[in-house]
Symmetry: D2
Subunit: 462 residues, 4 copies
């Protein structure tokens, strides 16, 4: 790449999972909307045709109304073609297909275990990790070989375990993990301000101290200018805790099954006195199974929804159709504000501005009462070729056990994946808070789930 005054040209971005229908288009929109950077994007995907289609769509973005920079999209056939000399690597893959995800999410239901997402923790998250982490091992090794100095931005779940694997396999990797769930909590706080007569505060202007792990993130401070948001939130919870809060939702996120009325979030505030900062569907999965996910009625009572994989399959059909139309021109390409931070983070790393935002990184002490090296989500400063964590401080004692528990689980699962040892991962599986069944039933369920997804678990013995 070339720095020319306050512009950077010839940036090379490798996009692993570049056949994505949907998320990729948001990135294309964000890239072409930034006037001070330009370059090429190599799309790599195990589904090469999908990459080819996205390359067509990507290149069309250059001509869209409002485009401010030029980005060349190329579909490439190998990981090495994508990575060689890359300046940035974006990782956004689907580990396995929705058939495997169907097992992750729904196989446990026979045992009375319900999961609202099933991609981060719970039986589904654990099995998903087992099939994902060996792929990440492969990608990490390729990055080490082909572009060791590139910045790697991960969007794939299970976020924490993937990031941990990246750093275990290639300790000098310059990788961080991005997730927009905290933004939703900021938007809810903006709604809290709105209730107090302060209208239209953009979520970025609400300064929060983020701590915990991805999808189980917490705010220990929330401030808007001179206003401490905690007492306002407490009143808000008193008002809406039982009935739920319906407005103020994230504009940039799919509705229907993904919606929630924040009752889980508010119940957690009543229980722990800090602000849980992810969607209720995610939060619920990290808590005792008896709390929010006992059965579909409980889920309904708490105002969120289980996301059946059939929904995802259906949604994919729509997106494939949209892809076809974008290519054919039946549907015009248009810019949209994604609300994602990715492109601004890239710009900061290039020295074009400085920004502070939340991100997933190994703990180098930003949360001093957690073990070193585990991956945590806190704020960080993005500036010239550096992402430096901001001190989140010690976890408050109230939420300390919540976070240490999931860290224990994640450490075991990552280790068992790297050792290809399913027995070890069972220690995490059987003790997961959603696995409220005994050790013998747990063993049966675990076997079943491994069996169901064995196409993607070839490297394990079981």
């Amino acid at each position: 790449m070339k720095h020319l005054g306050n512009k950077v040209e010839d940036i090379k971005i490798a996009y692993v999972g570049g056949g994505s229908r949907g998320w990729a288009w948001g990135l294309m929109s964000d890239l072409v909307s930034a006037e001070d950077i330009s370059g090429e994007v190599r799309l790599y995907d195990i589904d090469y045709e999908a990459s080819l289609n996205n390359a067509i769509i990507g290149n069309k973005y250059n001509d869209v109304d409002g485009a401010k920079s030029k980005w060349i999209y190329k579909a490439v056939k190998t990981l090495s073609d994508a990575l060689t000399d890359a300046d940035f690597v974006v990782v956004s893959i689907l580990p396995g297909t929705f058939d495997e995800m169907e097992s992750d999410v729904h196989a446990p239901e026979k045992y009375g275990i319900y999961q609202s997402v099933g991609d981060s923790t719970g039986p589904g998250g654990i099995v998903r990790a087992l099939r994902t982490l060996p792929m990440i091992e492969l990608i990490a090794t390729a990055i080490k070989n082909y572009c060791p100095n590139a910045w790697v931005i991960n969007y794939t779940n299970p976020m924490t375990m993937i990031m941990r694997t990246f750093y275990k396999v290639f300790p000098k990797i310059k990788a961080f993990g991005c997730c927009h769930e905290v933004f939703g909590a900021q938007r809810l706080l903006s709604a809290v301000l709105d209730e107090n007569g302060i209208k239209d505060v953009p979520r970025e202007e609400i300064k929060v101290n983020v701590t915990g792990v991805n999808h189980f993130t917490w705010l220990t401070k929330a401030q808007y200018k001179n206003i401490d948001l905690f007492p306002l939130y407490e009143k808000f919870v008193e008002k809406y805790g039982d009935c739920g809060y319906e407005r103020g939702r994230d504009e940039n996120w799919v509705k229907t099954v993904n919606t929630n009325n924040h009752r889980v979030k508010m119940d957690l505030f009543r229980r722990f006195k800090y602000i849980a900062a992810a969607g209720d569907r995610h939060l619920a999965e990290f808590c005792e199974g008896t709390w929010y996910l006992k059965n579909p009625e409980t889920v309904d009572y708490w105002g969120f929804a289980l996301t059946p994989v059939s929904h995802r399959k259906n949604d994919l059909k729509n997106r494939l159709e949209k892809s076809r139309k974008l290519i054919s021109g039946e549907q015009p390409i248009a810019l949209r504000k994604t609300g994602e931070d990715g492109v601004n983070q890239i710009r900061a790393l290039l020295g074009l501005h400085t920004m502070v935002t939340n991100v997933n990184l190994p703990n180098v002490g930003q949360i001093p009462n957690l073990p070193l090296d585990v991956v945590v989500e806190t704020n960080a400063v993005f500036s010239d070729d550096a992402v430096t964590p901001v001190m989140a401080g010690e976890l408050p004692i109230e939420i300390y056990p919540l976070i240490t528990r999931i860290i224990g689980e994640q450490e075991i699962v990552v280790e068992s994946a790297l050792k290809r040892d399913v027995e070890l991962a069972f220690k995490a599986f059987v003790n997961n808070p959603l696995v409220t069944i005994g050790i013998d039933d747990a063993k049966k369920l675990y076997k079943e789930m491994l069996e169901n997804t064995k196409r993607y678990l070839q490297e394990y013995n079981f």
Copy 2:
């Protein structure tokens, strides 16, 4: 006190809770069996008459067959009389009466919450702590005033929270907490050796690395000479895990409702791969309520028993009767081996020998991945006027979440007791693993339990 070569005379021991029927007699027996120490024991109890009776019994021990030293017992009427110039302080009190304990243990049963002991954690342990810790605050302050250099040995439960309170109130206190539960695990390991043809190994000769918190202690190493006991224990668990192991029990502990067949201990080994080292009745209470304490049938299935408080009340009657007989001479005084370490610890602190044993102390780094200052149970070296923790090392990741959870609970409860703030303690109560009911029912139960025991909660507002 006076050091004379290898003897120490004129030792002054203050016994807070000195009216105890039972435990006190064991201490009397151990003291008079040690030939190199002698002195006086001041018995203080809110039941002064009980102290008077124990003074009579204690003084009789000097004439018993096998007595090797002389100890003068005095009943005293005030804490300051007991503590002034004391060299050692023994704390072994019953906070409240068995009526309060009845509420602790049985009130939650209406809500489907069963507790096997109810004195360390769970709803009962938490409420017990609320009424105990202000008493400990009082005792700690008196120690600071009347004998700041004395060694303080606590035997009262909830052990961890009491020790934490001692150090919070008087940070320079020289206090440690003793518990014999780990000895039982050592005896089980002796039985494991027995199964392998190595007979009659005394529990002290089995060297263990103790870690965790009182009543939820774990062994991360267990060695007998050149034999690593972990693989042997694994086979033992394979053999007895389902049916339970009936032999090899602690000879020094009351039978019947206190017995167990180690199935909980063995299930925990299968789940976590380290050796849980306390009685099953205690261990069960630190786990998810759904595991071992779901209902009386579950308890029965796992081979241990709920200890109804009626049993304790009955047992007390027997002990009162025994006290009467000991005084009248109807029952003769006799020495017995208690298996407790207390007197040997005193001898070590006096410089008469060196010993290594497990003990409850603030974490100064002996478990590096736990917060500093919280009270943990690990080995320590006892020698001339010093108890120095031995490095237990980092908690293995498998059991790390177990211990951090209970530490979180204990920290909150201690803080709320010192602040006399029942609302704060509710954050621990509602999130306790046995409290599998919702936040609203939890609130009801909590209120009820506070109400039941309010005679001993006068200093709190609720």
Copy 3:
């Protein structure tokens, strides 16, 4: 104060040491140059007349060409008048007079000990601390009483020990310490870029990872966009290490005795491979006395200068004369760019922007291999009512001993000041790297220095 959209009015600033001739005028200039903040400044000084004069000058700034906001200056007679309800407190005092400083700096010369500044470490810095810290104790207590929520900005030396005292006396104080020495290092790096053909880079655009303690700060990273400055600096040191670098000096700092040609800084780079980031006069004082301060010839050889207190006295005369002229109108008031960060930090704390800059704060883990609570200088994020340290990371092993040594000294001196115990401080004095004389001579010198300055050491016994 009142937040009105993107402006804040009615801000109350207490200025302790507000009679300052010079530094205060810079702050006045910076305040009136900021368009989004306004309010009042209460000037408190033990020299009340000086405050009165500065109030006159301050109020004149409102009418100067380029003034963008209005600030009312008031001289107040008591600390409580200054502090009551203050939003910000600026602390910039001279502890004692230049007569005391004369002893600090020059008394040791008889023993062959030379100091270039004598305000941070060395015999002079230690004795200065002894007379300063009780004053800080007083100020901290007053802040606790009159404005516990105010932000406190300290500019006084010895910076580290003052900040440590603030937090020891009032642990919840919201205080940070500012110093511009690191800016000079950034300017030198700008000169390094200049040597490489990249001209006129403002120092703020050079991103540095700051670590260490005030006046002995180090850079472990220095980056300009995609350029790592370490290899360039290495070449620069090869070129200029022996002869010194004369250009590229800080435009905002007094010349003559304060100048240096960076030879000390460059020698330290050769010795330790990291970039020392303070003026050479300061750096030299933290090193072995035999290195740069053996005698005046050595100082000369290394291209910096001892700052005789006579120079300071003379300079003060000039500034008094200037004060007179500013008041009389003989010399017009004019805005000047101070290059200081203070006003921008205030604006950030008010929520008007976000900034990252270096600052002195207690270690909460931003330097994980230093003790907690000691005061360190690292980057921090300034935003809505928060200063949050950025992870500086572990000190590299090369400079770790340098920083731990000075921390050891500072901890001892602070403790001895708070205990009013000159004997304890002697443990720091005698082992200071500049005190290359034996323990007996050190004792003599120490006594002499205490005697010389006893007017300001009334609270100590010696």
Copy 4:
């Protein structure tokens, strides 16, 4: 090996450096004096003939009056012959010859740098480390290959850097380092008791809390039964600090050049208020060069002596002569009490008893305010197959800078040896407290010393 009740037979000890004249004979005497262990000792040395001679001498010990067990000594030709299946490995080698040591100790004298020992730190210690550590790397790798479960006992200097290398090369090594210097401090404390009328206290009965690094160890507690030795030592220092204390010396250590009158130790007590616990010759080398080693007169003034290598060469001649006589029978073999702990440590590891003594081990938290993994000297519990450090606690702030400085040096030197990078080690060399000369002279001296010893630095480029 075979455990038979309370005896262990067929123990296999590999002795690396087994041609030693002197130290080996002490071990032989200790081994044959222990009645509960027996086995074989394989003597390996680069001087095979020396091993052969020692095998003859060793086997003669079995017939000596007072021998209680039987040990077979064999000279072996390769490291693998020595190590294969060994249960214990003793490492006690001379890295290079006394010619190299002559350069280490005396080459710096031309530059005005004097060293009293030159084997642990200072220019000599650093260069010695450079030639030793690659040998240790070799031994560590061989241990990993031939006897990974063996206990490794190191006696070679530089102790700390050797231990650090062992663990860096083979992290699972079961190695510890032994040194008797602390025993000397205990004997001095016994003399202090003697001055107070308490006679003949064996050094083991004085309980000390040991902390720091080998040869720069400190006592932060010293207790004999109920007597705190610190106030007594303070008075002792008042009495003998200026004139030195001549009696009470170690009976088991060579006299003449090794003697000292404890003035350095006492001066350090006055400076730092903790008890330095190694011979003065060692302690002096870790302090500023200007303190005790400025020149031979200073050394003399402080009551200790430089140990010229000529003395060592001469001594060797005597020992060779003694070896000859022992073999020929001219001089009879006789048991002697060495005062070393080695054989008792072996017995504890075999489960024959439990002991607490000081030892060099990686920091796993026993000194919480030092970096993890660096090698420190503290107490440890020796028991069945385990050496477990006892918490030494945080280094007091007074001595913290002393220990962190030497740790910084040692970390750099170990890293540079493992990387075979003499440039990196120069960063330690030039900043060593004895190297009071400038960077340019330091460079010259360093080159010279490397040149002088290049026969043993073949693997380095310079």
